[in-house]
Every structure is written in C-alpha cells, then in structure tokens.
C-alpha cells in the first residue's frame, strides 16, 4: 500500500513539473506582453519596462529562475504588483465556498433524481427526469446563469441579481454551476442503479422479503455509486477553483476569473500561478479518489 501511495505521489509531482514546463514555454509563445496595448508606449519606454521585469533575459534563464522560486513556493509578484500567492489566498476561498455549495447541490439532487428515476423505471416521471438531465448536460452554464438571473431575480425578485457576500447571493451561481453535474450524476446513478437492480443478489434480497427501502440503501446504492468516485475528483477540482463565466456574470471576485484575465493581460506570473494551482488541486483530488478507490477495490492496487 505504501509503495502504491509513493508511486502516486511521485507521478503527481512529475506531472506538475511537466505541466509547469509546458505552460511556461507555451505562454511565452503567445505574441504580446503585459505592456502591449492599442495605445502603444514609446519604444524605449516599452523596452525599459521589459528589461525591468526581466522579460528580455534569455528564455531558458527565465525558466530556470521561475523553477527555482517555484520550488521555494514563491510564485513572484503579478504584473499588478501583488504577490500571486496572496491573490490565490484571497480568491480561492470564495470560489471554493461557492464550489462546495454547488457540489453539495449536485450530489444531493443528482443522486436523489437518479435513484428516483431508476425506481420509476419506464414510468413518465423517469422519462421526464432523464429528458431534463439531457437538457442539463447540453445547456451551457452562461445561458443558464442569464436565464436564472432573468427569471428568479429580475422577474420574480426572489434572489439578488449578482455580487458576493450573503448566502442569498450564492444561490443562483451555485445552481448555475451545479446544473451540469446534476444532470451527469443523475444519468450515471440511474444507469448504474438500473443495472444493479436487475442483478441476482437484489432479486434474492427481494425474495427473502427484505423491505425495498433497505434493499436500495444497503445493497443496491452502495455498488451503483462507486463509479461516481473518479468523476467526483474531476468535478470537485473543476468546481472548487471557480468558473470564469459564472463568476463574471454574477460579479463574484473568485479565483476562476483570474485564469482568463491573466491570459488576456499576459500576466505571466499569474498565468503560471493559477495553472499550477489548478493542476495541483486536480491531481491531488484524483490522487485521493485513487486511494479511496483502492481501498474499496483492492484489485486496483495489485494491477499497478
């Protein structure tokens, strides 16, 4: 087991290093720099700024410098002057809190709907839920976000339109974030549970006269939820670090916006910082999902 975990940790850091290197050089390939603008600075001023911020150093030297400071967990100041780690520290909790709400919503609603649809097999309720789920997967979150704003805020005046700070303000964005995962989880749970319900041991349980509720909770659900685990790792990483679109539409000062803003602004330290942070969260959660799964299913451990 320890060997398995060590292997996983090693591959996590190796992947991070590869990502760091790729991101660094790809980012430098994009034309433009933080000071390129429609209103151009005089050439010598532009050049002086580039020299001041070390952008004129040879690329391999810039890379080594970055690597050295990244090992010390120093991600440098962003071009706005504030340390990258400080920006992440301030904005990540906001995105994470919103993300947790959305994950809670996705899991509770998704699993309930999935179970319900599986139990109502071939009835109209099940068809309606599955149809909604298909819609949920295909509607992009920005359309849903605007729709939610229009109906629940502007027309019905039930929730605040935008901004961040109160629980009410977090409801619309978390619904917008959760919609697609809800749809996905519903379908996943429905498919798995329907399969499991057809299996022999469930039939046996029925014929033994166990109450249906107990059969679902104790026997069927446990086995039909395990495929959720690998999906959950990815979902959690995506949702926790924030979504550009949802944060932009609802005016939420989370981390998600920085992924896009930093690229538009060519804010190199910020691009690196956000990419590394996201990669770390994603890889870490996948790692946890792997470990948990290996406990549930020992075959995974021995196969590596």
């Amino acid at each position: 087991m320890i060997k398995f975990i060590c292997q996983k940790i090693f591959s996590l850091f190796a992947t991070l290093l590869v990502l760091l290197t790729l991101t660094f050089f790809l980012m430098k390939l994009i034309p433009g720099d933080p000071f390129t603008d429609e209103k151009a600075l005089p050439h010598e001023v532009h050049q002086a700024l580039r020299i001041h911020y070390g952008l004129e150093d040879p690329l391999n030297q810039q890379y080594l410098n970055y690597l050295k400071s990244a090992f010390r967990l120093d991600f440098g100041p962003s071009f706005q002057g504030r340390p990258v780690s400080q920006i992440i520290q301030e904005t990540f909790p906001i995105s994470a809190l919103l993300g947790l709400e959305a994950i809670f919503l996705a899991l509770s609603v998704g699993i309930s709907l999935g179970v319900f649809a599986a139990l109502q097999q071939h009835k109209w309720q099940a068809h309606a839920i599955l149809l909604l789920a298909s819609l949920g997967i295909s509607i992009p979150s920005f359309i849903l976000a605007v729709l939610l704003q229009y109906v629940l805020s502007i027309q019905l005046n039930l929730f605040p339109l935008a901004r961040w700070g109160t629980f009410q303000q977090s409801i619309l964005p978390s619904i917008a974030l959760a919609a697609m995962p809800i749809a996905y989880i519903t379908r996943l749970v429905h498919n798995n549970l329907s399969e499991v319900l057809k299996s022999d041991y469930i039939k046996t349980a029925h014929s033994k006269g166990l109450p249906p509720f107990k059969i679902i909770m104790n026997h069927a659900l446990k086995n039909s939820l395990s495929p959720l685990l690998p999906y959950f790792g990815q979902l959690a990483a995506n949702i926790l670090v924030g979504s550009f679109v949802v944060e932009k539409i609802f005016g939420i000062p989370g981390l998600g916006q920085w992924f896009v803003i930093s690229v538009f602004n060519r804010d190199y330290p910020m691009i690196m910082g956000t990419t590394l942070f996201y990669s770390f969260v994603l890889l870490f959660l996948l790692f946890i999902a792997d470990i948990v799964q290996s406990f549930l299913d020992p075959r995974i451990r021995t196969s590596i």
């Binding site: 429609e38 100041p77 504030r82 920085w258």
Partner: protein, 531 residues
C-alpha cells in the same frame, strides 16, 4: 413534495424581506459606479489606462484640475505665473494636506516627478514629462537631476522650465501623469503598498480586489466643504450585469468611460431616451500599411477612404451618436471643423481606384485581395463586417476579414503585419498636437502606418516653437491637411462616451478626455424616490 414547496416559498419570502430591509437604510449619500476591471494601480506613476486615470482623479488632485465645463482651473496650485517667453511656469501652492493630515508641499511634487524620471523606475508615462527641460536626458541617465527644469524653491513655490513654449502645458499638468505621490508611497519597495495616501476630494477606504473599491470623503481635502457625497462604491462588473443592475436601480452609473454598455442594448436605450452621450476627444480610424502593396499606393488609400459610408456605420452599427469623421482632429479639440473630403463618395472612390489601376498597370481582376485586421471585440467585429460590404460593393474586389485577440492584434499591427487595421486614439490632453504627433515619425510606436513626411515633421516642429496661438493653429491645420492628403489613416468617426446615469445625481463632470469629476456631485432629495 408539498413540504418542499412550502419551504421554498417561505424561504423566498424571507429573502425578499431581507432585501427590503437593506434598501431602507439609505441615510448617507452614496454613489455606485460600474467599473470594468480593477485599476492597474492607485500609484499615479504606474497607471496608464483611462479607467485607472478616473480612479486616480477621484482620490488625487494635481496642481491644475479640469472643472465641470472642461476648463483647466487651479487645483492644489492657487495661481500660476507664466514667463513672457512661455517657457517658465511658477506655481504658487495653496495650504493643503495629504489624507493622513501631513502637509503637502512643493517638494512633494518635485520628488514625485523626480521619481518618475528616475532611470531605474518603471514608469510607463515618463515620456509625458519630456516637454520639461532636461527631463529626457535625466531619464536616459545622461545628466544629474539638478539640471532638470523642476525645482521647489520653498514649500510653496514650484518652478518648471520647459524645453519649448508648450501652450498645452497646463492641460498636461491637469492630467493624472502629473499627480503628486506621498512620501510614504514614494519609498522604494518591491511590494506595492496596500495603503493609499492621497490628496483629492475622496480617499480610498477599502479595495476588495476584482470586486469593489470603496472611496469615502477625504476630510483633509483643502476644499472638503463643497464635497457632499460621503461614499463612492466603484464596483467591478461585467457589462451585461452592470446594465441589469442599473435597470434594477442598484447602480447609479454604468457605461463609459469606466466600463462599457452591451452593444446590443444601444438601440433600445437610445429609443427609451436613457442613453446619455458626451463627445470624446477621440478618433477611430483605419490604419493603412503604407509600405505594403497595394496600400503603398496613395490613390488606393484615398479611394478606400472615399468609399467609406461613415454615416451608415454611426447610425446602424455603433449607434452612440458618434460623429462621422472627415478629419483626424476631433471637433472638441480642434480650432474649427475642417472637412477634408466628403463622406460616402463612391463615384469619386471608383474614379481614384481606376486611376490607381492604370498607374499600377494592372487589371481590376489582378488586384490582390485586401485583408482588414481588427481586434476581437463585439463592436469592431460589426464595424469590420459593414466596411467589408461597403468596399466590396464600391470596387468589386475581395475583402478578407482577420479577427485577432486584442494583444495579438496590437502586436501584429505594431510590427506591420497587416494591410488595413482598425484603430483609435483617445487624447491624453485636449490639444490637436496630441493627435497629429502620432504620425510625426515612422518609429513612433503609435504610428504603425510606416508613413513619414518631412514637410509634416517640419510643420510640427515649427508649431512647438510658435507662441502665438492663432499662428500655431494655422500651422497645425496645414499639418492635418498633409496627413489627409497622404492618407496613412482613414478617419472613421469621432467617438462619444455613452453611459447611463441615475437622474437623481447631479454635478458630475465628464471632460472630453473621459475623466469623471465627482468633486461637486450631489444626490437630489433621495426620499422623494423611495416607495
């Protein structure tokens, strides 16, 4: 299921109850404004976009300021004395202090400007000081600061010597480039200071990054008695969200110059008479790459210029009461409006095009396809499509559109990788020279057309030495005529600032440079508007 429904209903009632509660505490005078993004910095030496300039002008005040009517009036300076040769300006400072209570002196201005010009300081705007004697040489490390024409004789007097008589110097001094920086913020430090000490009508109270800047009235401002707004909230919002919040009465101001309005909403806003419009000292144009075939041919450039239907674009695409441009210098800046050509002159364009083909000795079918490059914004995309149609219709040739991410666009145009490109200029100070100087040298980073003309350079140099304003205007007019005769740029329209502003609010100044002034802002009887 029934339980769940009742829960939702009770819940929603609770939320609406909370909301009403927060609306009723409206005792202090607060103005809420939409901002498109965070200011780049609240250190005046580091900012360089219009939004940042606005945030800076709210919390700082320079020696001169622009008043409600757009005139340059004394600010921290009580008066200014100009020498007969127009080269020495002596500013007498009034009694004033920083927002932490320490007195503001002429030395603060001297040291602020010195630090911008310091060769090792990364100041994007240092070149705006090059009108001052020795400033450029000091920035390049060639002379000591003692030889630069900036000198505080005592705490009250600041003397500035200029290289040339510069008739727009006081306008320049009223811009954010020349704002003072407190000694605390001047301390060289790697980290940007979180605390901002300023000297304007308002001061920074809180800056929640990427979310909101809260400004409050600055009690130490020298003219604090006229400031009637207690608090300003500058909220960072997406254009669609800010538009909706304005409609729901949660915002007092949306749109330019600190943000944008959704292009799709313009027509209906105009129809409902909600859209407010102020002319800007700004021109949108098409740059021609004058070194690349076929745009190196002046008749082709002029033909493309003549075939533009500017009125159509202004009325049906941009829809913000912009003025079709038949010159480079906007009317709000100019001595008079000169029409160098007429708009939508398709027959004239066709004639020039034919002449050019004969000169080039080619057939129309052999004319190469022309690419129009533009930055991927909603508005530019619509403009490009309209112009593509106009040119195709006028000449029967193929026009390709190339849409690029904004920074890649700027980089490509700067390096001359284009044939025709969209572009614009928003003035730094309200004088024709600010527009004409762009095209003075090929090497100017903002020129990008590769065009240079010795007569043009000669005229601009002459204008810098001319102290008589009427004669100077004549010289600049001649220069503009050369520019329009050679046509390295085809003017499209003179821009406007389009915004929504709550009718309760008055006294907000907006200069043609796009600088808002909230010093004299007030809110009319707010109780009358409560339900």
């Amino acid at each position: 299921m029934k339980k769940l429904f009742s829960l939702i209903i009770i819940g929603s009632l609770l939320f609406t109850a909370c909301k009403k509660d927060s609306q009723s505490k409206n005792e202090s005078a607060v103005i809420k404004i939409a901002f498109d993004h965070d200011p780049t910095s609240l250190d005046p030496r580091l900012g360089y976009d219009l939004l940042t300039a606005n945030a800076l002008q709210m919390i700082y005040e320079g020696l001169m300021r622009i008043d409600y009517h757009g005139n340059v009036v004394p600010g921290i300076a009580e008066s200014v004395d100009i020498s007969p040769d127009h080269k020495t300006y002596t500013f007498l400072l009034r009694e004033s202090s920083w927002s932490n209570g320490t007195p503001l002196t002429a030395y603060d201005f001297q040291e602020s400007w010195k630090s911008i010009l310091n060769p090792s300081f990364p100041a994007p705007n240092a070149y705006q000081f090059y009108y001052i004697k020795g400033a450029k040489a000091y920035k390049e490390g060639k002379i000591p600061f003692e030889e630069v024409g900036i000198k505080a004789n005592d705490p009250k007097h600041l003397v500035v010597e200029l290289e040339n008589p510069t008739p727009f110097f006081l306008k320049l001094v009223s811009s954010f480039f020349y704002l003072p920086v407190s000694s605390e913020m001047r301390q060289p430090s790697e980290k940007m200071r979180e605390e901002v000490i300023s000297n304007g009508p308002y001061k920074l109270n809180q800056w929640k990054r990427n979310d909101e800047l809260i400004l409050v009235k600055n009690p130490y401002y020298w003219d604090a008695k006229v400031v009637s707004i207690d608090k300003m909230a500058l909220t960072i919002l997406d254009e669609n969200t800010s538009f909706k919040l304005f409609e729901m009465d949660h915002l007092d101001r949306a749109g330019s110059p600190t943000a944008t309005l959704p292009q799709d909403a313009m027509a209906s806003l105009k129809h409902q008479h909600l859209l407010k419009v102020k002319p800007a000292a700004a021109t949108h144009w098409f740059r021609f790459n004058t070194e690349a075939h076929p745009m190196n041919h002046v008749k082709i450039r002029k033909a493309f210029n003549k075939a533009l239907n500017r009125k159509d674009i202004v009325e049906h695409v941009t829809q913000g009461n912009q003025i079709p441009a038949t010159g480079v210098v906007p009317p709000t800046v100019s001595w008079k409006t000169v029409h160098y050509f007429s708009d939508n002159d398709v027959p004239g364009a066709w004639e020039l095009f034919q002449e050019a083909l004969i000169d080039m000795n080619i057939d129309k079918d052999a004319f190469p396809p022309v690419t129009l490059t533009y930055a991927a914004t909603d508005r530019d995309h619509k403009i490009a499509q309209a112009v593509q149609q106009q040119w195709t219709k006028a000449f029967g040739i193929k026009i390709d559109l190339q849409r690029l991410e904004p920074k890649i666009f700027s980089e490509n145009v700067l390096n001359g990788h284009y044939q025709i490109a969209t572009g614009s200029w928003y003035a730094d100070f309200s004088d024709p020279i600010n527009f004409l100087e762009i095209f003075k040298y090929k090497a100017n980073a903002s020129n990008r057309t590769k065009w240079e003309n010795s007569d043009y350079i000669h005229l601009l140099n002459a204008s810098a030495k001319e102290t008589d304003s009427l004669k100077r205007s004549k010289i600049l007019e001649q220069a503009e005529a050369i520019l329009m005769d050679q046509m390295p740029v085809a003017p499209l329209f003179f821009a406007t600032f389009n915004y929504l502003e709550n009718d309760n609010i008055g006294g907000v100044g907006l200069s043609n440079l796009g600088i808002l002034d909230f010093k004299y802002a007030y809110i009319e009887d707010t109780n009358a508007n409560l339900p």
